[in-house]
Amino acid sequence: MASSVQFFDGKTAAVHDVSIDITHQGIRIFGSDVESIIWPYDKLDAVETPHTERPLRLLNVKVHGARLIINSEQDKTRILELAPHLEGGPNLKRSSKFIAWTAAIIVAVIGLLYGVLNLAPQVFAQMMPDTWRETLGKQTENSLTKSARQCTNPKGQKALLKLAAKVAAGSDNPPDFSVRVYDMKMMNAFAVPGGRMVLTRGLLKAADTPDEIAGVFAHELGHVYHRHPEAALVRILGIQLLVGMFTGGGTGQTIGEVASLATVLSYSRDAERQADSFAQKTMKTAKINPEGLITFFGRVLKLEKKLNSKSGTISTMLNILSTHPGTEDRIKKLKALPKGQGVEVLTPLEWKALKNICNKTRKPTDT
């Protein structure tokens, strides 16, 4: 038996040929150049899971670096009988520990995601000092309007302010805001940080009545009210951090970027719904006819259908990814409102002035 047991004492790399006694107290190790010692079973651990074709390699948690290598099958069987914990394998304690850890990690990851994507953006957006919002707003507005000119026809500006004031009066707690029209062909309206709103000439051109513009404005005011633009920026920052953390800044980067884009988009859909419901409530209180917004959406829908018939599935996919809720959905929600007698938002003369606001333009100034 002596030749089949080797002992390393953890002090030198020398091999000691030893003999062992397998007793109920533990394994007694003795040999010509090794002092007799006993390794109790509860201090034993297997270096790797025991295997019939390989020697059993044992360590003692109390003796750093020491190893006992058992080659004989009889000895291995005996030891495993007396110290079954060495087998590892499907062990209730170990597997429950593993499951608990995995669950804890998953919970922590979900908590982290919730905090970074949901909680932190809302909190920080509300806490953000006004000077920060201002600079952020300026930068964002500049980058979105690029080199477009600002529309400054004074009569049109007066009409725009009147329309804005009428809508804002429908909210019991209207946020501070500013609104500008840019000489851009595309049809668009957006809110950026700092309560800034931008309308385009294309949008004014496409609208038939002031009610339509009032509806769009009410929607954008909803974004300002909920500070969605500020929250979105904080969220992007958080996502950058998360992607870095989970992927270690390496190969997962591209996957992470796609994931983060999808997250930003889906959060925007929530924000659009919030802004829609703000618009509904505000217009109701301000007694502005939602009919205008409905016809406007109807026109957008027709345009979408025209595109759809041309390109089929891909456009449907783009729709799913797009930041706005489905147009049909939005019309449905608006129709549910009682169609009371609406007030006149602008006089025909004022409406004409607003439509012609881009008769006079100037380079954007830092306002």
Partner: protein, 386 residues
């Protein structure tokens, strides 16, 4: 005795020298396939957090296949150590970086943001060597043979300064300082490396590296010229009109309302990746011949006790190793990366020879303290040998 291949033999001591010869073998064990799948699945479920434990499992398996004189190596690292190391780096470098740079941008000081970005870039680059050194130290201290562990006892800061110096000198000299500086780095790290309490030693000059370096340097210039000529040839063969028409088409494809553009975009992306693969592949092949030379020369300069090392590396075998591993990882979406690591370890072991003798009996345990943290910094830089 069950199987002589797996059991440790007392060295047949050479009576005249007092030491024994060393043979290193790699004996494959079953279980790596299952381990690969398990690691991959758990990494996905935990959004990548499991990667530290995955790395540890793979190392435990591969280390235990490496047998020196019949006795396997043992990897004693823990996943938690790597995770903690990563957290430390995350909170002292990555988090302040992202928060400061973006915060300055948010607060309306883009110039300050730029200054911070510059500062962190310099910090990252100058600490690159530190990351390499600390990762090596961690792995050595977690590797044991016959219960005796390895170690690295020098200053990681000094190493990182030397590494920084190498990067600067190499770029100033258009690469010609690289062999000399690589030798300096290898000299430092090898002389500070130990097994138990015995140091490795490294001694030699960079002269023998230069003939091969010159060949590869001019070779890569040649490849560069050929690539430029071929690109120009393709450009003229296609014709200027078709060329600009393609880019105009790409411009159209990128417009929001053009949904037929997707295929054009995909084609373009594939072309870019194929281009990169060709360029990197060609330069990689050329420089493999230098790398082979460097590995062989460095091995011959290394000594431990009364043994020296021979490493029989060739350029083409390195190309085969890297290309094979690249394809293996690419086509299995990373699931087989433990097998790629095994291939690499097997390559090194099969070509490494220990010449001379080592008095194994006299090697005593390392007195180095064990650093409880893992290779955090290395993970942050995402470089991984094995």
């Amino acid at each position: 005795m069950t199987d002589t291949a797996f059991s440790s033999q007392p060295e047949s001591v050479n009576q005249t020298s007092g030491g024994s010869t060393i043979t290193i073998t790699y004996l494959e064990k079953p279980g790596l396939g299952w381990l690969s799948i398990k690691n991959w699945l758990l990494s996905i479920i935990t959004l990548g957090v499991y990667r530290f434990w995955a790395k540890t499992n793979v190392r435990k398996h591969i280390w235990s296949c490496i047998h020196i004189n019949g006795e396997p190596l043992e990897y004693t690292g823990k996943g938690m150590e790597l995770f903690l190391g990563f957290l430390v780096i995350f909170f002292i470098i990555l988090l302040p970086f992202v928060v400061l740079v973006n915060g300055m941008q948010l607060a309306g000081y883009p110039e300050m943001a730029l200054v911070f970005q510059l500062f962190f870039t310099v910090l990252f680059v100058s600490l690159y060597g530190m990351a390499i050194y600390r990762a090596r130290r961690y792995r050595l201290s977690r590797t044991t043979w016959r219960g005796i562990r390895g170690g690295l006892t020098g200053s990681s800061f000094k190493y990182s300064m030397l590494y920084f110096g190498k990067m600067i000198l190499s770029s100033i000299t258009m690469g010609w300082a690289t062999p000399a500086m690589n030798l300096e780095l290898q000299d430092r790290i090898t002389n500070e490396m130990q097994f138990g309490d015995t140091y490795f030693s490294f001694k030699g000059r960079s002269g023998p590296l230069y003939s091969r370096y010159a060949a590869c340097w001019f070779g890569s210039i040649f490849v560069y010229v050929v690539l430029v000529l071929v690109s120009a040839g393709i450009f003229f063969a296609i014709g200027k009109e078709n060329f600009s028409a393609f880019f105009a088409g790409l411009d159209d494809a990128l417009k929001e309302d053009n949904s037929n553009g997707i295929s054009t975009i995909i084609m373009f992306v594939v072309m870019i990746y194929a281009g990169f693969a060709i360029v990197f592949g060609l330069f990689g092949i050329v420089w493999s011949f230098y790398k082979a030379r460097e590995l062989a020369v460095f091995a011959s300069y290394t000594k431990f006790d009364n043994a020296t090392f021979r490493f029989n590396a060739t350029g083409w075998s390195l190309v085969g190793l890297w290309l094979g591993n690249f394809l293996l990882v690419l086509f299995t979406l990373g699931i087989a990366s433990p097998f790629a690591m095994q291939r690499m370890v097997k390559y090194f072991i099969s070509r490494l020879e220990v010449v001379g003798w080592i008095d194994v009996q006299k090697i005593t345990q390392s007195k180095q303290k064990l650093d409880p943290r893992g290779e955090g910094m290395l993970d942050a830089f995402d470089l991984d040998g094995f």
